[in-house]
């Protein structure tokens, strides 16, 4: 008679090999990226102050290479792991239902939750453009890029309306992504409560909208002529 209760088969899956582990990785990296987005937005909103403020802010960051590179490496890792996990999960999902339904209805899922796999890559594409646009300045159609004048880079960059439009579309995608992701990360990490989770969901919606609105306010202000180059 074997007294063994639950015996794990040989070659047990490691944490990062299971769907639950991968989702936990996505949740943690998602949280890191969310933290960055909040900080980034708060910093960027200085664009509404006199130009010296944001330029000074940028110069301060660059004067602290340990912090800057620490953050950059962390973010790069987080983005990498977030994408790596989601890609692997996407492969699993593709395999899990080889024959599709002729008819399929959705009962209570949100549009945002079902389109995470679309909003994600769009945000990635935007991110790459955004880095080329404002960090490296290699693609900056609005005029010359001056790495010491963040204020002007932003304003001239957004004066090109297709760029602003892309930016706004990407921010709407980010809103959707956060709309679901912000509470979903708690579920993935094991927190759910009949009272607090609904509040968390409401909070996630609010934060997602605030972040998108805050970001979008910048190109809109530029296009509306509220913020002008100096």
């Amino acid at each position: 008679m074997s007294a063994t209760a639950v015996s794990l088969p040989a070659g047990s899956l490691h944490f990062w090999q299971t769907t639950v582990g991968k989702k936990a990785i996505m949740a943690i990296t998602g949280f890191i990226l969310f933290g960055f987005i909040v900080g980034h937005l708060l910093g960027n909103l200085q664009i509404f102050l006199p130009p010296e403020k944001i330029n000074h802010y940028s110069a301060t960051l660059k004067s602290l290479p340990a912090l800057l590179w620490g953050a950059r490496i962390t973010l790069l890792l987080a983005v990498g792991l977030h994408i790596w996990s989601s890609f692997q999960l996407w492969l699993l999902q593709r395999d899990a239902r080889p024959i599709k339904y002729v008819k399929k209805a959705n009962l209570n899922s949100t549009y945002a939750s079902r389109t995470m796999l679309w909003s994600g890559p769009i945000i990635l594409a935007f991110l790459i453009f955004h880095l080329l646009h404002f960090t490296f300045g290699t693609v900056h159609p609005g005029g010359p890029f001056d790495e010491h004048n963040v204020y002007n880079n932003v304003v001239t960059g957004f004066q090109v309306w297709p760029v602003s439009l892309f930016y706004i579309v990407a921010m709407i995608m980010l809103c959707y992504h956060l709309y679901h992701g912000l509470w979903s990360m708690f579920q993935s990490l094991g927190f759910s409560h009949p009272v607090y989770t609904p509040w968390l969901q409401r909070f996630a919606k609010l934060v997602a909208i605030l972040i998108a609105a805050g970001n979008i306010s910048i190109p809109v202000a530029v296009l509306a002529g509220f913020i002008k180059p100096v």
Binding site: M1, S2, T4, S7
Partner: protein
């Protein structure tokens, strides 16, 4: 044939303990050398397979469903009895024993019933430890409710899904053994025949429902835990797949069939709505705790229930049985409902229904409490009928539900074929002529968890079954027999569907061998059934082939056996010229219309022995003696 019950003598309180000590044991190291087949994976079969696997036997378990978790035990709603006396209301093992013998109208074996009451307390412990989420009180202790036929609260429950939770407990224990390799599970398999070698049950023939493959499985002992045959009525509360094929084929191989006419009609089911009806749905008897049963006093009163004033309602159970009221045993409640409907006071479109009214309890306890107790039942009722029981009384009518009859077994649960054990509803043993509510779950688990593990060791140690090859002549013959039946069904190529035959058979049995029986009706049925059976074999239409997933073929084989079983039921009912429990012969009743037993002539178990296709079965009687509970006219007044 002489029937030896092997029931221990001496003081009944010690008989099981003494018997257990006398049973021979198998050394732990030797257990793995024995192969045991368990057919059925419900409470009895699942519990047996899991427990035997834990002990170290090599177990193979078979079920027709796609998973052992779906056996029909899962549908039991109300609860499970146990003599825990947690409520200090005067319960005891002896009282549960007494209630069960009396509730069975003195047609069960005392020693068996006492043992059942005794192990009932272990069952609750076992299930709690397995994680069965029984209802609890705020103090964290187990809650109880009352059930029919008892004046104490001894029924443990898990909302209205007690059977489901108990089965999941057994299923999880079984899956654990499957995971450990002690039990091999064979889902979607029908047992088509029993293999008997040198007088011992040594294996079974199965048909895979996936692809029709017919296979031989050999073992040292065979356990049948295949449930009851209430589907002989076509309309019953049993699952659509419930069938008698396993026990019937065992009967045809020599196992005696006991008390086939003892069937239970459950008083609280949702009434039939139309011709297309495929099954009946039970509303737990526990509803009678808080529901009052009534009909309008005036025959033919078609007013809506709400507009019938209190003074014009007849709460007939409370009136006729003041001390038990709405909680009289099932047979009595069912017959009383039939009597009201026969007198024209029935309600609903068909007139075949009575009201079960929760209004008073809702007023007294509040809707919330009622919802907590019966929420899922009430929802189920609403889904089926489109009516809201919180607002209008439920309509209920009796329906075929359970069978007390089954293969004859001795005290060790062994049939007349050595090595063939029969557990749960499939045997006849503990409920006499009427089963009390919440006792079926108790019996199934008692047999599976606490009796068979002892009994089987004794058999194997004593009989020492010899090696038998898979291609033994008896196995080959059984395969040929099973194949021939399947072929015959496929080749009939007639013009009527299996279901149409089943429906017609069910109507004959229900009309003549249902809630009330009489000689003329039974004789008529005994003439009609063989004629219909003959027609079935000529005119049934089963499409497709054996070598595929063929649901019509599955059903056809089961219905073919129901034809033969129906005949035996009627024969037994005709032969038992008394009324007792669920068997109500109209010729034998008291002036008040209660069942009139004839203890002088019928205090026995009627066990029938198969004599061949065209010969009448032979009757052997196991006399019943009552040393503790003296037979009396059952009174619930």
């Amino acid at each position: 044939m002489e029937l030896i019950s092997n029931a221990p003598t001496g003081p009944i309180e010690q008989s099981w303990d003494k018997h257990k000590f006398d049973l021979k044991l198998i050394n732990p190291a030797n257990k793995r050398k024995y192969n045991i087949i368990v057919v059925g994976s419900g409470l009895a079969g699942g519990a047996a397979a899991a427990s035997l696997g834990e002990l170290g036997y090599n177990v193979q378990c078979f079920c027709y469903q796609d998973s052992p978790r779906r056996a029909h035990s899962i549908a039991a709603q109300g609860g499970i009895n146990a003599a825990k006396n947690y409520h200090n209301d005067g319960d005891s093992i002896y009282r549960l024993f007494y209630d069960t013998v009396k509730g069975g109208d003195f047609r069960s074996r005392e020693a068996n019933v006492y043992r059942l009451a005794q192990v009932s307390v272990n069952i609750i412990d076992q299930c709690v430890a397995q994680g069965v989420p029984f209802a609890r009180e705020y103090g964290g202790l187990l809650d109880n409710r009352s059930f029919g036929g008892a004046q104490v609260s001894r029924t443990f429950y898990a909302r209205g899904q007690t059977g489901q939770q108990l089965l999941l407990g057994a299923y999880q224990a079984l899956e654990r053994q499957i995971g450990l390799g002690a039990v091999k599970m064979h889902p979607r398999m029908d047992m088509l025949d029993l293999i008997v070698v040198d007088g011992q049950a040594r294996g079974i023939v199965t048909r895979s429902l996936y692809d029709g493959k017919i296979e031989v499985h050999m073992a040292d002992a065979v356990i049948l835990a295949t449930g009851g045959y209430a589907n002989v009525f076509y309309l019953s509360t049993n699952a659509k797949g419930c069938n008698a094929t396993a026990i019937w084929r065992a009967y045809k191989r020599g196992a005696l069939f006991a008390n086939p006419c003892f069937t239970q009609i459950h008083p609280t089911c949702i009434p039939v709505a139309g011709e297309y009806q495929s099954k009946l749905t039970l509303m737990s008897e526990s509803l009678r705790n808080d529901g009052r049963i009534w009909v309008p006093k005036q025959p033919g009163d078609k007013r809506a229930p709400g507009s019938i004033p209190e003074s014009e309602r007849d709460y007939y159970l409370e009136r006729r049985y003041p001390s038990f009221g709405n909680l009289v045993p099932r047979d009595i409640a069912s017959r009383a409902a039939k009597a009201e409907c026969d007198a024209g006071r029935g309600v609903g479109e068909t007139g075949l229904g009575v009201y079960l009214d929760l209004a008073d309890s809702i007023q007294r306890l509040g809707k919330r409490t009622i919802a907590e107790r019966y929420g899922n039942l009430i929802e189920m009722y609403e889904r089926i009928t489109g009516e809201d029981p919180y607002k209008v009384p439920m309509r209920i009518y009796p329906a075929s539900h359970y069978v007390m009859g089954g293969l004859w077994v001795d005290y060790n649960l062994m049939s007349t074929i050595p090595g063939l054990f029969v557990l749960g509803e499939a045997n006849f043993s503990d409920h006499g002529a009427n089963r009390l509510g919440a006792s079926a779950l108790m019996q199934g688990l008692a047999d599976g968890y606490f009796i068979i593990p002892y009994a089987i060791g004794d058999y194997l140690a004593t009989a020492k079954p010899a090696q038998v090859a898979v291609d033994a002549p008896a196995a080959k013959e059984a395969v040929a027999n099973a194949t021939a039946i399947t072929k015959k069904l496929l080749n009939a190529n007639g013009n009527r569907t299996v279901d149409s035959f089943h429906r017609e058979l069910g109507k004959i049995v229900w009309d003549n061998c249902g809630m009330a029986r009489n000689e003329a009706g039974l004789k008529k049925a005994l003439a009609q059934i063989p004629a219909l059976r003959e027609d079935f074999w000529k005119n049934v239409r089963v499409l497709g082939a054996n070598e595929e997933f063929n649901q019509s073929l599955e059903r056809a084989g089961r219905v073919a056996d129901f034809f033969e079983l129906a005949e035996l039921m009627c024969l037994d009912a005709l032969d038992r010229r008394e009324s007792c429990g669920g068997h109500f012969r109209e010729e034998y009743q008291t002036p008040e219309g209660e069942a009139l037993r004839d203890d002088a002539n019928y205090s026995y178990v009627a066990a029938w022995e198969y004599q061949g296709q065209d010969r009448a079965p032979a009757l052997t009687k196991e006399p019943l003696t009552f040393n503790y509970v003296k037979p009396s006219q059952r009174s619930y007044k």
